[in-house]
């Protein structure tokens, strides 16, 4: 029997600052844990499942995190599939809770990517996979793997740079409504198109920002969550997927979201038409476009028209990234946890100008890795109790 409808998110916290040169990543992580526990009305001693991932976490990373927090959980999961990891951690936590392996799962992230001046999109590409030798000689920064997907999308469907720019403009408009967002000044299409080209066809303003940050999410049974401080947000469906070159020539515009989304919708017994809002990993504008198509919010090739018509803005067919996303609010290296947090905040309600009114069902989708090379996808569908 699936865990759909039996597990809930009971606590959340997003680190408020985007610049924390006086903090360590562990410290940010622990402060987020404290605030999420307080949000839920739980204490550290209630936590018996620990989940997390960071860009620097090594083989003993989860053990070190438990040591830092001075806790002795009975379930550990440090699976790292890139920036989407935390979306998948919610599914892993739900499965663990549903099978009695833990009761209160704490999912954590913390990073000082900005104050470390980490070049995420245009820096080192020395991936530790056995195929890296076939990539490393050619100078392929992360952004170029996304740019090559954008080129295919333009070629196959006639998608324009203006349409990609509309994603950045819409996301910035949302960020202007979020007092914690790193970039709040509204931008125009022209601002995006006139910003310098980083990897054709992606301009500077097609790229996510780099921030410090962290987050925490608490997952428990729906039954237990109903006794806690916040209204439970119920896990309805989850899915994971990997997408790679498959020895040959797969369609680069069909990403992992297709597989993970189909699984999540099937588990939830829902369709894209049921979803009131989405939080979508926006490492680059193209990531949002192909994710919308692969999750079934529009047909392949129609993503450009969807965003051009205001489909992802507040009041649109599917409001996306009301917090300002990674493009404008918070991208501290691995954004997945913030996708979950904003989806939960929207379903709890009361967000003022950026609130999607009457939101009942939200979808979070994370993409991790190198889009046109190899990447992961994780989809999570949540609802009010």
């Amino acid at each position: 029997m699936s865990f759909s409808g039996r597990i809930a998110i009971a606590g959340i916290h997003e680190y408020e600052s985007r610049w924390a040169p006086d903090k360590t990543a562990f410290q940010i992580t622990a402060e987020c844990a404290r605030e999420a526990l307080s949000d839920a009305g739980l204490s550290l001693s209630d936590v018996d499942g620990l989940f997390g991932a960071t860009m620097s976490m090594g083989a003993m990373g989860m053990v070190q995190l438990a040591e830092y927090l001075n806790i002795k959980p009975r379930y550990l999961d440090g699976s790292n599939i890139g920036g989407s990891s935390f979306v998948s951690h919610v599914a892993h936590a739900a499965a663990a809770i549903h099978s009695g392996l833990c009761e209160v799962a704490l999912i954590l992230y913390g990073s000082t990517a900005a104050s470390d001046a980490m070049a995420i999109g245009t820096g080192d590409t020395s991936m530790r996979d056995p195929g890296a030798a076939f990539v490393a000689p050619y100078g392929m920064p992360l952004i170029s793997s996304y740019a090559m997907v954008a080129q295919r999308h333009r070629h196959q469907y006639g998608t324009t740079s203006e349409q990609l720019a509309d994603i950045a403009v819409s996301t910035r408009r949302h960020a202007s409504l979020n007092p914690h967002a790193k970039m709040q000044r509204p931008i125009t299409r022209e601002d995006v198109l006139e910003s310098r080209m980083i990897a054709d066809p992606l301009h500077l303003l097609d790229c996510c920002i780099i921030s410090d940050g962290g987050g925490a999410v608490i997952v428990t049974s729906l039954e237990r969550a109903r006794d806690l401080r916040q209204p439970p947000i119920v896990v309805r469906g989850t899915g994971e997927a990997v997408c790679h070159r498959e020895l040959g020539a797969p369609d680069l515009t069909t990403i992992a979201a297709k597989q993970s989304g189909e699984h999540a919708f099937a588990m939830a017994g829902l369709t894209p038409a049921d979803v009131d809002l989405a939080t979508i990993y926006d490492s680059f504008t193209i990531t949002v476009l192909v994710t919308l198509e692969c999750l079934g919010f529009c047909a392949p090739g129609e993503g450009g028209a969807f965003v051009e018509e205001g489909g992802i803005g507040l009041g649109g067919r599917l409001p996306v990234n009301q917090d300002g996303g990674g493009l404008s609010s918070n991208h501290s290296g691995m954004r997945g946890i913030f996708l979950v947090i904003e989806a939960v905040r929207q379903l709890r309600g009361g967000l003022g100008a950026r609130q999607v009114e009457g939101a009942e069902i939200a979808l979070a989708h994370g993409t991790g890795g190198y889009l046109g090379l190899m990447h992961s996808g994780a989809t999570l569908i949540l609802s009010k109790d």
Partner: protein
């Protein structure tokens, strides 16, 4: 091959990419040694006939050990591409702008490489290209492509 000078020349346009020796293991040695001889070496499975790239110690379609190597035509077309205009990695910082592309080979597989000897803005999807090789050290080489 690339540069004759150690001094960067900021005003004189991009430096050529300097290819270091590729990371070689026993599964991939035939590929990189082939490139050192000026040959693009691919794998074919004797049992199921699949052409696979990147090279592996077994066929990941039928899991047979019966892998053989053959010399590919070196001809293909650009499947997709980008011009890298910013890269903080020291080996590439002064080489921008340069083209990275997936090239779809006549034999089927796509391989990632640079496309050189042309204006980066002249590259397009479907453009015919042909392989060339840069020697790296005594026995090894790195394939890349030029307009056909």
């Amino acid at each position: 091959m690339s540069s004759k000078r150690d001094e960067p020349k900021p005003a004189a346009g991009p430096k050529a990419i300097e290819y270091g020796p590729p990371a070689v293991d026993w599964e991939t040695r035939a590929y990189w040694e082939g490139a050192g001889r000026g040959e693009l070496v691919l794998q074919r499975c004797r049992d199921c006939g699949v052409v696979q790239h990147r090279p592996r110690g077994l066929c990941v379609t039928c899991l047979s050990d019966g892998i053989e190597h053959f010399v590919a035509s070196g001809r293909g077309r650009v499947h997709t591409w980008s011009v890298v205009r910013q890269n903080q990695m020291p080996a590439f910082r002064e080489a921008v702008p340069y083209v990275v592309a997936y090239v779809e080979l006549e034999e089927g597989p796509q391989i990632l490489a640079n496309v050189v000897d042309c204006d980066p803005d002249s590259v397009s999807i479907g453009m015919p290209v042909v392989v060339e090789f840069v020697k790296t050290g005594r026995d090894l080489g790195v394939p890349r492509f030029v307009p056909a």
